[in-house]
């Protein structure tokens, strides 16, 4: 039986999490953060900061990548889920949308969505209602139900990946870089959808490299770097924070340099 921590508030709590991979080295040290029920919380940080590893540790996917939780605990609504199997975590109400729109390419859109219902009890009416709700949210998927997911556009695949996770009827939805590699118009639509999902009562943990986007829709945010939480605070404050600007502009600076290099090469 999971231990019940009555002091923990509803939502996700990560406490002192230290994570490494068998291939060597720690990727997270003493990471603590909370995602209160009903909120959108953003986790931002540069590439290699440990964002995806943190999500894997929370959602039970770490084992599949030869990762190990050395220390710390994770609770969802007060129940310990530290090191639990992915299927157990999904049953507890946490669904993760993997980075990079990982749909099942050879299954149809309908089948992709139905995989999400795999863990549900055989409650057909409830499953049907959820299915319809998701199609209302992502109208474009309704016209593509019989099509193979591998043939969808990037934006459509991202929506399918989110819809598929919603089919498990999660209380907490975890999104790993949903804006990655998508056109600005699609990114706008996805952030609207995330807000709509949250408005219906689902808690959201949004992991992004795009800090400005994340802090615009989140209530609270954390900055992760080098496997540690550097700081956290209300998203509105972080959006104007110099330190965040430093990270964010750091990214800009990099691309600026790249642009200059490209210009030099093509100028020759």
């Amino acid at each position: 039986m999971p231990e019940k921590d009555v002091s923990a508030a509803a939502g996700l709590a990560v406490d002192g999490l230290t994570v490494g991979y068998r291939t060597g080295g720690l990727v997270l040290s003493e990471v603590s953060l909370t995602v209160p029920a009903g909120q959108i919380v953003a986790l931002v940080g540069p590439n290699g900061a440990g964002k995806t590893s943190l999500l894997r540790a929370v959602s039970g996917l770490l084992k599949a990548h030869q990762g190990v939780i050395h220390k710390g605990r994770v609770t969802l609504d007060g129940d310990a889920i530290t090191g639990a199997d992915a299927s157990a975590v999904v049953r507890r109400g946490l669904a993760q949308v993997l980075e990079g729109r990982q749909v099942f390419p050879n299954l149809t859109v309908r089948e992709n969505l139905l995989t999400g219902a795999h863990t549900l009890r055989r409650d057909d009416s409830r499953r049907h209602a959820t299915f319809e709700e998701i199609l209302d949210l992502f109208g474009v998927l309704r016209q593509r139900l019989g099509q193979r997911a591998g043939f969808l556009s990037g934006g459509e695949q991202q929506m399918l990946a989110i819809g598929r996770a919603l089919m498990t009827q999660p209380r907490l939805l975890v999104l790993d870089e949903p804006s990655l590699g998508l056109a600005p118009r699609i990114v706008e639509e996805i952030s609207r959808v995330v807000q709509a999902i949250n408005a219906k009562g689902t808690t959201v943990l949004l992991v992004e490299q795009n800090a400005l986007l994340a802090f615009r829709i989140a209530e609270y945010g954390y900055v992760l770097e080098g496997g540690r939480v550097m700081f956290g605070g209300p998203a509105a404050e972080l959006a104007g924070d110099e330190r965040v600007a430093h990270y964010y502009l750091g990214g800009q600076d990099m691309s600026g340099r790249r642009a200059r290099r490209t210009a030099e090469r093509t100028g020759r």
Partner: protein, 291 residues
């Protein structure tokens, strides 16, 4: 013409057996990423069990073999291969090769190394005459039962939630985990199905050349070119590849008889051709490395 039809029929019957064996390999590979070199031994053991029990009733033999093989396959998966999860490919391959050697040794201890009876049972030795063509009843049985098994397998994959889970797991392992699909179940079910397919293949292989012997392991390994031709990791490919190999072998032995045993190499020639022209096989996608 009659000769051609006769040979084609025999080729299809043998092709069905190869398809069943190939499907056993593919089921396990797609769910757990293991190429199970012990599968041909599962086929042989099934044939021995059925042949031993035929005097008490063919049906009993098949039933006992089904229970034993499903159990053996699941035990192998749970006790041995699951512990090796995440280890290098060579470790896993050596483990299945070891299982194969062990299985052959156990059979030799229990039944000796000489051929033991056959698994014909009610399939009998008679022939069904259609025009000028004589179709052996064993062939009719093999083709009919194989088609029924394929249809059942197809419906399982297309219509049931476990079938969908298996397809999802084969399509994208990590996404399937993230969707809450229980991989232990997926793997147990696939190994169990592979065990059942091994029984069907064992019964047919023991009835068609009419001999249950240790050579069956080599015959069953003949499904490998079928897998390469069809495209490794594709269920449809296993069926088409198996059919091609069966037809090549039987038509080759019929028409190229004066060249001695040259038909035996035909599947391998076809395999090399496919590898050269279309390395992923007729139905294959590019080979995805599992995490």
């Amino acid at each position: 013409m009659d000769n051609f039809l006769q040979l084609t029929f025999q080729g299809m019957a043998l092709g069905c057996v190869y398809a069943l064996i190939g499907l056993g390999f593919v089921m396990v590979f797609k769910s757990s990423g293991v190429f199970n070199f012990a599968h041909p031994v599962f086929v042989m053991i099934s044939a021995y069990i059925v042949a031993a029990l035929v005097p008490h009733g063919f049906g009993w033999g098949v039933l006992v073999a089904l229970v034993c093989m499903a159990a053996l396959a699941i035990v192998c998966e749970k006790i041995i291969l699951r512990r090796l999860a995440g280890r290098s490919l060579y470790v896993v391959i050596m483990a299945t090769l070891g299982l194969s050697v062990m299985g052959q040794a156990v059979v030799a201890m229990a039944w000796g190394v000489n051929p033991r009876g056959s698994t014909e049972g009610p399939m009998g030795r008679g022939v069904l005459r259609v025009g000028g063509v004589a179709l052996p009843w064993t062939g009719v049985w093999i083709i009919t039962v194989s088609l029924v098994l394929l249809a059942v397998l197809y419906l399982f994959f297309q219509r049931t939630r476990y079938g969908l889970a298996l397809r999802a797991a084969a399509d994208h392992h990590e996404a399937a985990l993230a969707q809450g699909i229980n991989m232990r179940w997926v793997q147990t079910i696939s190994w169990g199905i592979a065990g059942v397919l091994a029984v069907a293949a064992g019964v047919f292989l023991g009835a068609f050349p009419r001999r249950v012997s240790p050579d069956m392991v080599d015959t069953a390994l003949g499904a490998l070119p079928a897998l390469v031709i069809g495209g490794f990791g594709s269920l449809a490919g296993a069926v088409v590849g198996g059919m091609s190999v069966g037809l090549l072998l039987v038509l080759g032995s019929g028409y190229l008889a004066e060249y001695g045993g040259v038909h035996v190499v035909l599947p391998y020639v076809a395999m090399l051709l496919v590898l050269t022209l279309r390395p992923s096989g007729l139905f294959g996608h590019h080979e995805a490395e599992r995490i």
